[in-house]
Amino acid sequence: MSQNDDWELVARAQAGDTTAFTELVRRYQVPLVHFCQRMVGSLQDAEDLAQDAFVRLHRHLNRLRPDARFSTVLFGIARNLTLNHLRDSRRRGRHQALPLDEQVRAPGGDNPGHRARLEEIETLLKAGLDSLSAEHREVLVLRELQGLDYESIAQVVRCRKGTVKSRIARAREQLRLRLLELGGQEL
C-alpha cells in the first residue's frame, strides 16, 4: 500500500466518503491492533485501543495534512493511547505481569512438538517484551513488527532519530539478555 493511496483515501474521507475511511480502517487494523497488543499485552485491550485510535483519527480528519506518512500519524495516535492505558493500568494496579515462572512455563513445557516449541518461544518473547520499559518496547515493536524506518519511528514517538537508534539498540540488547535469563538460550 502506498502512502499516496492512503492520503487519497484520507482526502475522500474528508469529503465525507465513509467507504474511504472504512478502507483505511481495513488496511491498518491488523498492524495497529498488533502494535497495541505488543504494547499492552491483552488482545482485547489492544482492539479497544486500536478502535479508539481510528475514532480519534476520524475526529481530527479535517486537520490532517499529507506532510507526513499516514502510518506515522495513525501510529502516533495509537501510541499515545497505549501509553495512557499503561499509565492508567499501573495506577489502578491492574497491570500486574504474571510471575515469570508462570509466563514461561505456561504452554509447551517438556512437549517436544514443534507447535509447543513455537508457543514456548512466543511466551518467552512476550515475557521479554513485557520486561522492557514502554519507551524501549515501542521503538522495537515499531521497527521489528511494523517495519518502520528510524525517521518514521522518530515521528511516531516524537524524539530525535539518534534517540531512536540508541533506544532500539538498547532494547535489542536488553531483550536478548532477558531471553537468556528466562532460559531461551537456543532461541
Binding site: 475511511f21 491492533v33 488482545l43 476520524h58 521489528e144 528510524y150 537508534k165 539498540a169 532461541l187
Partner: protein, 218 residues
C-alpha cells in the same frame, strides 16, 4: 583505532541505518564475535516478526464506523444533559473545572495575563465558578495554556455514588455569577450555551473531546 569492534553499531547496521556501513561490513568479514552477534540480532528480529498477528475481522471496521457515526449524530456536548440527565452536572463541572484548573490566560489585552495559576490543590467549585465567570464577564478570550489531562486521580471527578445534579450546579453558577444569569429566575441551558460560545472553537473542541473521553471511561 581503525578497525575497532562494531557491536554497538550492529543494531543500526541490520536496520540499514548505520552511518558507516562499509566499514562495518568489512569488519564483519573477519571478526567472528561481531559476526556472531549480528546473527543473534537477526534471529531475535526474526522471532519477533514471527509472533502471531491478530486476525483481520470485518466486525472491527464495523464497530469503528458505528462509533464514529454515533459521535457524529450526538448533540453538541453541552446539550448532553437532555440526553443523559445523570451526566449533566458532571459535564458542567468538568467544563468549569477544566477551564479554571488548568491555567487560563487572558489574551484580550497584551501581554497575555495569567489569571489563574495552575494549582496543585483542588479548590472548591464555587471559587472555580466565580473565577471563570469573572473571566468570561471581562470579555476574555479564554484559552487553555496547558494540555489538560483529566486523570483518574482528579479528586473532583464525579463520584458515581453522588452525582452532581444539573440543578445544583446551575445554582452554584448563578450565585457566583449573577451577571450571567438572566432576569428570569433560572440560569438555563441557553446561558450555558452562550457562555460556551464565547470560547474559541478549538477550545470547545478540546473540551468536547475531554467530555466524550470521560463518558467513554465512565
Amino acid at each position: 583505532m581503525k578497525d575497532r569492534h562494531v557491536l554497538d553499531e550492529l543494531s543500526a547496521y541490520i536496520d540499514g541505518e548505520a552511518k558507516d556501513a562499509d566499514r562495518i561490513t568489512r569488519h564483519l568479514q573477519h571478526c567472528e564475535s561481531c559476526a556472531r552477534h549480528r546473527i543473534e540480532l537477526l534471529k531475535l528480529g526474526a522471532h519477533l516478526r514471527a509472533l502471531p498477528q491478530p486476525e483481520e475481522s470485518a466486525a472491527f471496521a464495523a464497530r469503528v464506523m458505528a462509533r464514529i457515526e454515533a459521535q457524529q449524530t450526538a448533540r453538541p456536548f453541552w446539550q448532553l444533559n437532555l440526553l443523559i440527565p445523570a451526566f449533566a452536572g458532571t459535564a458542567v463541572l468538568l467544563l468549569v473545572t477544566t477551564l479554571a484548573l488548568y491555567g487560563l490566560s487572558l489574551t484580550a489585552s497584551s501581554p497575555p495575563m495569567q489569571i489563574a495559576q495552575p494549582r496543585n490543590t483542588w479548590v472548591d467549585e464555587e471559587v472555580v465558578v466565580s473565577e471563570l465567570a469573572a473571566l468570561i464577564n471581562s470579555g476574555a478570550d479564554v484559552s487553555m495554556v496547558e494540555e489538560p489531562v483529566l486523570a483518574a486521580e482528579d479528586p473532583l471527578a464525579p463520584d458515581p455514588e453522588a452525582p452532581v445534579t444539573m440543578d445544583e450546579m446551575l445554582t452554584v453558577m448563578a450565585a457566583a455569577a449573577p451577571e450571567l444569569a438572566p432576569a428570569e429566575p433560572e440560569f438555563g441551558e441557553e446561558d450555558l450555551e452562550e457562555m460556551i460560545s464565547t470560547l474559541a472553537s478549538d477550545e470547545v473542541g478540546t473540551l468536547e473531546e475531554l467530555l466524550v473521553e470521560y463518558m467513554h471511561e465512565g
